[in-house]
Amino acid sequence: MMKSTFVKNIAFALLTILLMSQNPVLALDLKALAYPPLNEVVIPEIEEVKLENGMRLYLLEDKTLPLIQASVRIHGGSYLDPADKTGLADFCGSLLRTGGTAKFKSDELDEILESIGGSAETSMDIIAGGLNLSMLSSYKELAVEIMAEILQRPQFEEAKFEQLMVAAKAGISRRNDNPGQIGEREFDKLIYGKESPYARHTEYKTIAAISRDDLKAFHSRVFRPENVQMAVWGDFDRKAMLELIKKHFDGWEKGKEALPPFPEVDYKFDSRTSYVDLPEVSQSNVYIGHLGGRLTDADHPHRIVMNNILGVGFGSRLFKQVRSKAGLAYSVYGVFTANLSYPGVFYNYVSTKTESTVKAIRMIIDEIRRIQSEEPTAEELKLGKDRYLNTFVFNFDSKSKIIERLVYYDFFGLPKDFLNQQKQMVEKTSAADVSAAARKYLKPEALRLLVVGAVKNLDEPLANLKNGEPEALDITIPE
């Protein structure tokens, strides 16, 4: 019997002998476990209302805790920034909350929120803005009023604008302090183009060009009810909440223009090798990839399985080869990302000591080729699918996940059962589907590669990779 031979054998391994001999070995037979059926996922009913001015509301009563929570999505973002005022949307996103409103001066709002343990935070990213609020439900009237003030009547106070300018300058001055931060920023530029709204970033010059009038103009253009989706959930009466929101938002005037569509990405598949030389570091940050895809691509579910097999998680090929087998990295992964608004990125990342950089790059490129040429084994396919399917229930384990997904799908006009459709396709994905997706979407012959590290001390010159003439990137911060 395998077990008893095994026990005898291990007795020779002096180090484990103690553990093994103290106890009778009670064998673990995982295959014999029988799981009860999973209790049903109860998806709460969310009331969707459209106000006359076009603002969309999503309401959910949830009495579990004495809280009111809100998540507001605002269509519009830094993709609208004029190139010479890059940073405008970001400034607006920050000052909405911190720059005071018509009714509440900035200090007053800080005081009110912090004295009741409430929080309201705003921000704007590339394609959308957000307001997230959490307060004890006893303050629900105040919560709605604060949201109305922040969204409709921000003041961009002069002093707060100046304070933000200092922080923005500090952000620029500190942006080359960490190699990882350099890599992420420069790789985005390598994929989307350095002028692209999807990769560009602030400079001293672009923020200096931003005025408070620009902020007010940006706000009045973007912050219009038809661009706003407001989700509110928590301990309240749904009808009363609707009336309360109407009271504060019904009078908000519609905008005069529709915002322009998200810009297209102009991408040509080619091979490029770039590097940032940091002579003092002992570890390289490496990024390898090309343009990715869209969530609505018909075979995206096949790519989900492909991602799990290639580079996401402990069981993936990249993790196994580069980390477990070769011990070259703590952090290594690869993923083909897909957005709704603009194409995502296929990117592979590894951080490894300077002297094993090119070796690790070769391993990753080999794995990208192998996922195209070598069908996943039955075991790999099962793991890749099960990891998605068996964790599916976690898409529904909190109210905020459920309601925020609804908001996002609704904006892009996806069907409510989109997630379930994806799941059904993942269930049916075959090994051949994974290979087909890999061949269709991955282009190992046209990779863009970035190394941030001590380039002169690498194990081999980057030119040996024959992935285009290595080009140095200058990351000096322009004055």
Partner: protein, 513 residues
Amino acid sequence: MRTYRALIALFLAFLIVIPAHGKESKGFDFSLLEKTIFEHNLENGLKIIVLPRHDAPVVSLVTWVDVGGADDPKEYSGLAHMLEHMAFKGTPEIGSRDPEKEPGLMAEEDRTFDRLRRERLKGRLADQQKLEALEKQMEKAIADAYAVIDPNAFSNILQSEGGSGLNAFTSRDQTAYIISMPSNKLELWMAMESERFFRPLLREMYREREVVVEERRMTVENRPMGKLVEEFLSAAFKAHPYGNPLIGHMSDIKNYSREATLKFFQKYYTPSNMTIALVGDVKPETVVSMAEKYWGRIQKRPAPARVATIEPTQQGERRVNLKDRAQPAMMIGWHIPDATHEDILALYAMVDILGQGRTSRLYRRMVRDEKVAVSVSSHAGWPGNKYPSLAVVFNYPAPGRTNAECEKIIYEEIEKLKNQLLSNEDLDKVKARAMAGFIRGLSSNMGMAQQLATYQQLWGDWRQLFRELDRINRITPEDVQRVARRYFTDGNRTVACLETVVEEAKAQKESEK
């Protein structure tokens, strides 16, 4: 992925700061919640805490081991963290493709490493040829052992069965293993989690050290703040192990052996030194019967002793200056007692008023008004809570401003707290924030599981989580003043500054302007 573990460990202390709340809080009765929490001790000493919640068919599961970086043995700094990595390597059956051959191959690794290690430790007198030969032999032994394993089998089983957020972290006080599962897979977790601590097999030991070396490069050596934290703590603690690097010194990591790691495991991973906490869609009676079946297999062993070393009273300010290309940053720390001390909540209140949020003293003066800093904050109970620790201020100066300017203002604001009594309104704010934060914390299964386990570990009783409100509500302005005077003294202080090295060419250019 366990990518952010070091970061999580670093800030764990902040997550669990100031939970407080009250029965009087707007009609929400915490005592009802407290009554739904169930606890049970196995005969071997394992503590089980269950909070049943049936909103969604999922459950968050944590294993809390009362061992951390502070328990690392001499010459083996970072071993608690290394063991956390090794706990994912499986058991004799889970992770092996050839259980008959594997022990022999592992023994060969151990023998070779022992010879290699002894030769290396001769330093300059080592025989280079012998070293090279042994290194080759070691590579071969590692490759041979690797050939018979099923890499990552342990994680793969849990993840393919729906495990979400599989992770672990090591702090100076504890080692935690966390995961959420669909609730019908509870038994799988019980079986697997107990198995890895019942019969761990430390395979891939020698390769995994290289992974940890890369982790150290990533989180410490190539990250300016990582370096600063390490220098700061080693200056602040001259005796207590809180001053040692959590991830270990490079030379120590390269010196770990399987034998040392296993010894450490046997000493600290005893059932009585562990707590499991489960929050979600489970029934306490099911949990207990499964725990008896699986965790009950582990034999009772004596509990390890706590760290004996007590940090001596500091005799004068200590200061570290680190030169780096990065922009300036500063941390200042004062020694304070451990989390169970009667002064601790007054200290929490003090650092809250001093440096947490947009209405705090330091933010208002330094960021809002004088614009000398872009970020400043204060915390109590870092880098640990189990032993006497530090209250700290973290500061990033604004462009063109200096650490020195900021430091001066920070001391001025602390002096005000020593000299002027707070108003009751100031304290009411602290209390209200703590309560709201506590209620928010209740919404997350994983958050609650970790809180319950943390309080169980630090106090020996999870109920203390529900008692902290009373403690914080009793804080008076006089208490805050007293702790400010007692702990925030010059001689009890350590300051670490990161100052920017200006390259010569650039300095030249600047001076020509």
